[in-house]
């Protein structure tokens, strides 16, 4: 019996070598310390260079400006990219979530208009789902779009919107029919973030940074040709996008030298002289085991995808495990670093990096669907366990209580 088919993972060693050589020559290095607008300018430059070199939209169809290649090439690129600190953060939402959804559901005109500029880094996208009253329960959102001739008029508030501060376009989910049950009355639109009536206000997260925003829509006009998918088909579009999101988050390759990875923590242990402590060694070995198991699961799912079995809801397993692994790593970091994890010499940047990683960790258990939501997805879609009784599934939206707000007095 033959079991080795190296082609499943590295169909083209030449491809990987070419990626490696190109990144070695063109990766711009760390942009830390530069002013925000300069960082953004260089990020755009790098994304354009990626596109010109043929490394943007590797798995997207050629007809929309992608490369029309397979998961194997994408994987080879991601693996090599993980060796560098690439300034691709501003394009993460567009490339990972909005773009693939436009590929799936967009009209030919939409694909022609939006995908190439997105791939070239000329236009940045954000995703406008969450609202103050609709986090995990996305379908209970209250932003309203009303048809007025050949345009829709959008009103409402979104929140925790990553990258909205520099986005040119957004995929916004809004209620277009409050008389239908909550999932049935939604529509997705492509909204111009520079349109009159759009206000973006930065929100500070618990790290003290402002990667996300509140977005207000006041009588914002959206042309009818900007409906993404079907009118009333917003939930389907959202599920499509969330599927891309989970895969994108779950399979994201963190740069290898994150302060909460085994290698960094083992180094810290050596530096602190506690690497011979049996408890430290025990916890480090356990941390490695979980980290490596997740990496291997990631590789396996990518190999299966390349062989024609898409990850489906198993993206939730990756996302959940990544979040849980961070919590485990923080515990080990405390064990290894002791008081150095809570106070350090201001000149020691590794102390800042660890603190930032510790403070940023909770976002991985919430953003893109909480751990609880991921477990529901695994339980229901993979294991087939019954859903909890849903009391709001068939009730017209206007009769529902949503978020922490009281029910409208319509019943």
């Amino acid at each position: 019996m033959t079991v080795v088919d190296e082609t499943q993972e590295t169909p083209t060693p030449e491809y990987r070598r070419a990626v490696r050589a190109w990144l070695a020559a063109h990766a711009p290095g760390s942009l830390a310390g530069l002013p925000a607008d300069e960082q953004l300018r260089r990020s755009r430059e790098f994304q354009a260079a990626l596109y010109d070199a043929g490394y943007a939209g590797i798995t997207w169809p050629e007809s929309v400006g992608g490369q029309g290649l397979g998961q194997a090439e994408q994987q080879a690129f991601s693996d090599e990219a993980a060796e560098h600190e690439l300034p691709l953060y501003p394009f993460m939402i567009g490339m990972g979530m909005c773009g693939p959804t436009v590929v799936d559901l967009g009209t030919d005109a939409q694909r022609d208009r939006y995908l190439r500029p997105l791939l070239r880094g000329e236009e940045i996208w954000c995703q406008l789902f969450s609202e103050p009253g609709a986090g995990s329960d996305v379908a209970s959102l209250q932003s309203r779009a009303v048809l007025d001739g050949d345009r829709w008029i959008l009103n409402g508030q979104k929140v925790w919107t990553t990258n909205a501060q520099f986005a040119d376009f957004g995929a916004v989910l809004a209620r277009t029919d409050p008389d239908r049950p909550k999932h049935a009355g939604l529509t997705m639109f492509i909204v111009d973030m520079h349109a009159p009536g759009v206000t973006v206000r930065p929100l500070k997260d618990m790290t003290g940074r402002s990667p996300f925003n509140e977005v207000y829509f006041d009588d914002v006009e959206i042309p009818v040709e900007n409906v993404l998918g079907e009118i009333g088909g917003g939930w389907h579009a959202a599920v499509t996008m969330l599927g891309h999101e989970r895969v994108s988050i779950g399979s994201a390759r963190r740069p290898r030298r994150s302060p909460l990875e085994f290698t960094s923590l083992a180094e810290r242990a050596r530096a602190a002289g506690v690497d011979t402590d049996p408890v430290v060694r025990d916890r480090l070995a356990e941390l490695y085991a979980h980290e490596r198991a997740l990496a291997l699961l990631n590789s396996r799912i990518r190999q299966e995808t390349a062989a024609g079995r898409p990850p489906g809801a198993r993206g939730s397993v990756l996302k959940l495990a990544g979040a849980l692994q961070l919590r485990r790593a923080i515990e080990v970091a405390g064990l290894v670093s002791g008081a150095d994890a809570i106070a350090w010499d201001p000149s020691d940047t590794s102390g800042d990096e660890l603190a930032l990683a510790i403070n940023a960790a909770p976002s991985s258990s919430i953003a893109g669907g909480t751990n609880e939501v991921q477990r529901n997805i695994i339980g229901e879609r993979i294991l087939g366990l019954p859903k909890e009784p849903q009391v709001d599934r068939d009730v017209p939206f206007r009769e529902l209580a949503v978020g922490t707000q009281r029910r409208e007095g319509t019943r």
Binding site: R281, A285, Y288, A289, R292, N376, G384, P386
Partner: protein, 369 residues
């Protein structure tokens, strides 16, 4: 590195699963536990007929000439079905030891018989406490007139009460050495031990000037290392099979069992527990496939991969079995239900090749910590 089995491997899996479903269902497993030899000879010969006992044995020695990827799949299925059989002892430990040693005549004599299942082999290394001692421990081998004799106690020994061939690591004047002992040799006393897991037989073997055959080996301690690593892979595969079946049965029950007007699987407390077991199983499968692949294709990677496999799967399988008992409630704590067999097998497997802490310590060492 290939983590997706090809169609031939999946066919092998399907064939073994079908066979065990037909010939070794749960009632049959329970029926053979108390008698001798503690497993069903018909199942054993059926496995032999399928060619799965000699998968890693070269074809010229009567084996399948396949590899550890294939053997891991068989182990997974045996773990799934909780099949009581001396597979780990004979098709894994004894077979791997003969392949790791450098004794051509012993290989030619024993491997074909192990592959057909006619001979059951095992390996006796542990002494009182269970961790594998590379020195041979306190069991001594002495030669007089070119004839070797063993004296000492090995325990616990897998299938030690029934094996016809026992491969023993003992201490000689020149360091550790491997010896072959006939199960019926004079001066060998075999005592079946009481076990946590009724599906796996373990025995204490007492050697009292027992005649033994010295097996040629360039590096007996290194051979033991290889045997231990390969056993870790096979056992981890068994553990993933156990996890998978435990989860299937739990999910099935959680879907059917109604309390407070709803299937219990609709409650997040239960659903999330099942989701966590599923997630751990997906990880475990990946870790095991990697380790099996390394056993076949990257022996330099095997020591870390094997330690990783045991570090991850042991506790994960026990957690899955614990969840199985828990979510079955009182039913799961009842003798008539199979949940306790999963629980006992999982706990026993978690300790069989050394404690989880021991595996983590080995892993740390192999990672250069």
């Amino acid at each position: 590195m290939t983590l997706v089995p090809d169609s031939e491997v999946e066919e092998l899996r399907a064939a073994v699963r079908r066979f065990l479903g037909d010939k070794a269902p749960s009632e049959r497993v329970r029926a053979v536990l108390d008698g001798d030899p503690g497993h069903d000879p018909a199942v054993w010969s059926g496995l032999a007929a399928q060619g799965v006992l000699g998968l890693v044995v070269p074809e010229e020695l009567g084996g399948g000439g396949a590899g550890h990827v294939e053997r891991a799949v068989v182990a997974e299925e045996l773990g799934r079905a909780l099949t009581p059989a001396p597979f780990l002892a004979s098709a894994v430990l004894a077979t791997d030891a003969l392949l790791a040693l450098d004794d051509e005549p012993a290989r030619a004599e024993f491997l074909p018989r192990l592959a057909t299942g006619e001979l059951v082999g095992t390996v006796a290394v542990a002494e009182c406490g269970g961790e594998w001692d590379r020195t041979g421990g306190r069991t001594t081998a002495t030669a007089a007139d070119g004839r070797w004799e063993l004296t000492g106690v090995k325990t616990p020994v897998l299938a030690g009460d029934t094996a016809g061939l026992v491969l023993v690591l003992a201490r000689t004047a020149d360091g550790p050495g491997w010896f072959a002992v006939d199960g019926a040799a004079p001066g060998l006393t075999r005592e079946r031990l009481s076990t946590l897991d009724p599906t796996r037989r373990l025995a204490a073997l007492r050697f009292d000037a027992t005649p033994a055959r010295h097996l040629a080996s360039a590096d007996p301690a290194a051979a033991l290392g290889t045997v231990a690593d390969l056993a870790a892979v096979a056992l981890a595969a068994e553990q993933t099979g156990l996890m998978q079946r435990a989860l299937e049965l739990t999910v099935e029950y959680a879907t059917l069992r109604v309390q407070f007007g709803r299937p219990i699987g609709s409650y997040q407390a239960v659903k999330h527990g099942c989701a966590d077991v599923y997630s751990a199983w997906e990880h475990a499968v990946s870790v095991v496939r990697h380790a099996a692949w390394a056993a076949d294709h990257d022996r330099a990677e095997l020591p870390v991969a094997a330690a990783l496999a045991q570090t991850y799967t042991g506790p994960a399988a026990f957690t899955a079995a614990t969840a199985m008992v828990q979510y079955h409630g009182g039913v799961g704590y009842t003798w008539e239900h199979d949940a306790h067999l999963f629980y006992k097998r999982a706990k026993s497997a978690e300790q069989l090749l050394g404690s989880p802490a021991g595996h983590r310590a080995r892993l740390a060492e192999r990672l250069g910590l």
